[in-house]
Symmetry: D2
Subunit: 385 residues, 4 copies
Amino acid sequence: MKKRKICVVITARPSYSRIKTALKAINEHPELELQLVIAGSALLDRYGNAVEFIKKDGFEIAAKVFMVLEGENPTTMAKTTGIGVMELTNVFYNLNPDAVVTIADRFETIATSIAAAYQNIPLIHVQGGEVTGSIDEKVRHANTKLADLHLVSSEEARDRVIRLGEYPEKVMNTGCPSIDLAHEILKDPELDFDPIKKYGGVGMEIDWQNGYIVVMQHPVTTEYQMAKDHITETLKAINSLGYPTFWFWPNVDAGSDGTSNGIRSFRELQKPENIHFFKNMEPLDFLKLLKNSRTLVGNSSVGIRECSYMGVPVVNIGNRQNRRSRAQNVLDVSYSEKEILKAIQQSIDSEHFPSSNMYGNGDAGEKIADILATTQLSFDKTITY
Amino acid sequence: MKKRKICVVITARPSYSRIKTALKAINEHPELELQLVIAGSALLDRYGNAVEFIKKDGFEIAAKVFMVLEGENPTTMAKTTGIGVMELTNVFYNLNPDAVVTIADRFETIATSIAAAYQNIPLIHVQGGEVTGSIDEKVRHANTKLADLHLVSSEEARDRVIRLGEYPEKVMNTGCPSIDLAHEILKDPELDFDPIKKYGGVGMEIDWQNGYIVVMQHPVTTEYQMAKDHITETLKAINSLGYPTFWFWPNVDAGSDGTSNGIRSFRELQKPENIHFFKNMEPLDFLKLLKNSRTLVGNSSVGIRECSYMGVPVVNIGNRQNRRSRAQNVLDVSYSEKEILKAIQQSIDSEHFPSSNMYGNGDAGEKIADILATTQLSFDKTITY
Amino acid sequence: MKKRKICVVITARPSYSRIKTALKAINEHPELELQLVIAGSALLDRYGNAVEFIKKDGFEIAAKVFMVLEGENPTTMAKTTGIGVMELTNVFYNLNPDAVVTIADRFETIATSIAAAYQNIPLIHVQGGEVTGSIDEKVRHANTKLADLHLVSSEEARDRVIRLGEYPEKVMNTGCPSIDLAHEILKDPELDFDPIKKYGGVGMEIDWQNGYIVVMQHPVTTEYQMAKDHITETLKAINSLGYPTFWFWPNVDAGSDGTSNGIRSFRELQKPENIHFFKNMEPLDFLKLLKNSRTLVGNSSVGIRECSYMGVPVVNIGNRQNRRSRAQNVLDVSYSEKEILKAIQQSIDSEHFPSSNMYGNGDAGEKIADILATTQLSFDKTITY
Amino acid sequence: MKKRKICVVITARPSYSRIKTALKAINEHPELELQLVIAGSALLDRYGNAVEFIKKDGFEIAAKVFMVLEGENPTTMAKTTGIGVMELTNVFYNLNPDAVVTIADRFETIATSIAAAYQNIPLIHVQGGEVTGSIDEKVRHANTKLADLHLVSSEEARDRVIRLGEYPEKVMNTGCPSIDLAHEILKDPELDFDPIKKYGGVGMEIDWQNGYIVVMQHPVTTEYQMAKDHITETLKAINSLGYPTFWFWPNVDAGSDGTSNGIRSFRELQKPENIHFFKNMEPLDFLKLLKNSRTLVGNSSVGIRECSYMGVPVVNIGNRQNRRSRAQNVLDVSYSEKEILKAIQQSIDSEHFPSSNMYGNGDAGEKIADILATTQLSFDKTITY
């Protein structure tokens, strides 16, 4: 029997964590062959080159595609997407997959969608149907309209994709693969490594053994000139709090230069003594670090998803996760030192929350692989209404 | 007062006809400045270079963009789109418009949408909300999800765009600008030129004065290998009918080579004596030719739109116009010489139909310009549900 | 022992004929592995898709690259080259060859050179050191300056490359592989097929059995607007001569539209009765056709090379082959109906010439393979003076 | 009288300094119109965005082109060049200049050359005819073969370009415009600003008033994996010397990440107390800083050119400036802490040298403008032998 060739395109480090258990399940499925394409910032050292993690996890890479244009502004984001369309078209033409998987809503994911859809290759969109703000919102729903099969992460998302005119039998709630990792963590939640020893990083040698918080705040693309102001509010809050803090650099987006600049300037001027900075961490280690933290601060979707499953309190800043369904672990605040500070203090004092399965039960990867092996693949569709 | 700069991107000859009256109204509006970008096949002689018509009509061209990759297959369609994203991003970056207009659903129109949306330029989509088959269907709705304002051509289309999660106040039915031209024709419908003398073309000097039909049949992209078979059925029907026929070459799409090859082979072998071939015609002349014809044969949207307003009988072949709302002037048939032949004979004998205003009243261009001048422009949106 | 991977990039049909015997010798060499990349117009039906010939000849294709932008003007030529650099870079990155071969001087060959040289892959240039006019002249010598090893076709070419500052031991005269085919033809020169029966083509069923001429005239890029005028002079000469003629369509270049248009217009208007048109022919058949013709008319390099070896009289029009070394079989004329006509008449009446080995002895392919297997490969060089 | 439109493309910060006085002279010339295009790393903050300096100097920018692909390896260098060809072709097509100027030998300068030459725009190459190692060597001479007019910086360079087959009357020695700035400095050489106060930077507040050295060392592309090792030797030498040092970050090239990483690692681990780091400096300030330094260490061409005119001792490391003509101010050493240390100590103790005019007399800018205004422009050439 001929195996179905499933081509998955990873364009950024965080997308890898989000899809990893599905990759594993595809790789191990007897009727599937994985064609893994690593592209965009997932190849770049500046954003925590994902390639070494991927190889360590035992995946073979079918093709690599450099496509990120420097500049980190809306113009280079658009051009990067154009380059991505050209290059990924070539890659699919040569790999000749039976289906292509595009993940979520980063700006460059539409390049994967176009390259597949225009070549009449069945396109599978993972994690559609959610709601946020900014360009991601447009990209996510455009991906939905280009895709032939939708593997979503929650019932609410499933309803929304169907309302967008997709056939209900083509929209399946598998839960989010990122919850699979959180599920594993909960079996053995102890922090069994020294983060600074294992990952280096820069900044102070903070005393984290008696409690720490984690910060991860990305720029919001439609407000990219304000990125520096936004990050500075958070930096001031964390600095004045004085609590031991692990801080993760933002990923590549228009404005990440504003965010990075904000962090660098603040470091040079204020020399904060309670912050240690990391570029990257293996996904499981990162989740363990979160599970054992007092709270996660920032605007990462990890706060909405994995942390809800692990019960970790989250201070969610600004509107990046706007309207994404959230459990009771999330406290929303605006870009304000005062609000951020108050919310962190409240979170530090609070207990962790009970686990929520709003985004799945921990078996999303296997569900995805099973569907990919058995569902009928097609590339011609019409809106339902 | 500063005029609003409205950038309209034309990527194909037929799109120019569809939007022409809106361009005129924008050009003449005291509060608007037109930035006209001509790109893709609209620049190419092979597909009837639209530039000379555009200049003759008095429009200035702000930028030209060569972007069509040769090959006419799904792979080059996708790459052409990628090139378009790169190039149009540059063009918008330099023209710095207040809004960008993307038209309908050709594959490369998503390049315009991405280049504008990613650069936070308000994107206006004209002629969304309709339903067809093939890649156009995916592209049209993806354009809707990337656009901030929707100027649709029928009430049915308006309802559909709203169901796609757009705010009702951002979805306006202006009617289709192509109907504006049909409206003008109806005021003075006489055929006041000799098509062969004025446009040359190749093939027989047919005797068209006592009745003729017009054929215009494009390849359907998801079936591009069958394009030659499809066109051959039509050719055989027209040939055996023997009725005087004006035939228009297809526009650029994957498969147009199949279609063109089909026509060329048939010509060489069968030397049909009742067919004269044209590459292109000025839009008003083309409509007049249709108005005075016995029937239009093929799969052009002109049959569904302009012909419904002008009451011209149409033999619509195959599923290219699938599920597009149609008036009573349209007879649908499959790719079958026999069916086509029978339907044409029936149409030739039938009277013309009463005018339908399903696609507008003839004032779409002015409505569009008025909305562009007065509506609030924005580039940040969220789905309504 | 690990085989050396030799990547050869073919970007146009004529380049395939020029390099074919070398490909064969590489393929059969025990220490070499051929990685054949087919790109540009060699993939396009309009210019006589070379892929079927290549497969028939038993070569495997490692990658295909669509890169020709439509428009056929200097702007699209430049952009096509840019696309080629992007795409071929990717291809080499994935194929990881030990050396890359770029052929001669077509505008897009510099894309191969840049993609290899910038990635530190030893670059081998075949057929450098010659002299012509137009953009080819600039491209050829730029290729020389980017290349690390030079396999030239004549002693004169070898001297010139060395004068360009290349190390003499890196410049080897192998002769031209195109002569290898001519060499084969001379062993069995009879025309053993009916050209029209075997290749179809369009135009009159001419009576070629008692003598015919062959025409092949390409546009000259720096004069592309004059292409139509140039070709018309030739058409008028051939038409007034009335001698049976096989005419080959030009290959893709800025201006080929002018040339093609010229031919099409002339055909419609004059309906020449002594011309049959072909798009393409298998290389060996083409050479046989030439060998048995009375004369070759036009500006193809085949007239300078293969015809000199086969002794076929050539009427060489214009300055496309300017300053390329030529044997006594070549009569040079300008773009003038009268001059062309006179020269053709003279050629028809003349005997064929003795064979010249100015461009090799018929063993170029094997010499090339031997050098590729044994020479030291490097990618770092400095000018010799 | 219609002014000649001269389009100059600047793709990197250092190129701006090299050409600045020519830009000024073109701008002020009554018969010339400057069209300034800023592209590549000259637009990027990471490499010291040149745009603010350019505006401050009073130049208008006709177009900006983002084209640097992230990754800083040979593959992204090649792709960046491909993107550059596509984009610059568009820019020239729209600006429609009478001539295009490409500068020196950075890898992406060939994009300018191709975009101009292929569109039949006269191409002027500044600073050809020199000799170095690495990819620059190939690019420089390929630029020469694509260019129609050569404005070189020394008699030796002029001889070499002529030997490359260019017509002597098309090769003019203007001297190097960078010497014009050095010439100005010599009129008023005092260091009239506090570098740290004016430019910030990072690292120690060193005591520079009593003597300092300057370091500027770029990665060498064909050895990019060794970049980290190379820079570490220099860092160790400077660290063990303990002498006050101003250190400039490298510009964008494959391997600059290795170099940057080397510097960052060394800083984190060794916390050198005698080094202050800058990203960028206005050209005149930079020259003043050099003029007042004890010595320049590294591999910048500034050491060979400007420093020879200003008489500043230079420790030139490795083979990046290989075979470039040099005056007696240059001491060549290999990548060895010991050799570097010894040479710096010798330089610190030495007097400054007498001025050399090997690279010009300080009037290159005006000479260039005069030639551009009066010379006959052409785009068709043939090799001289």
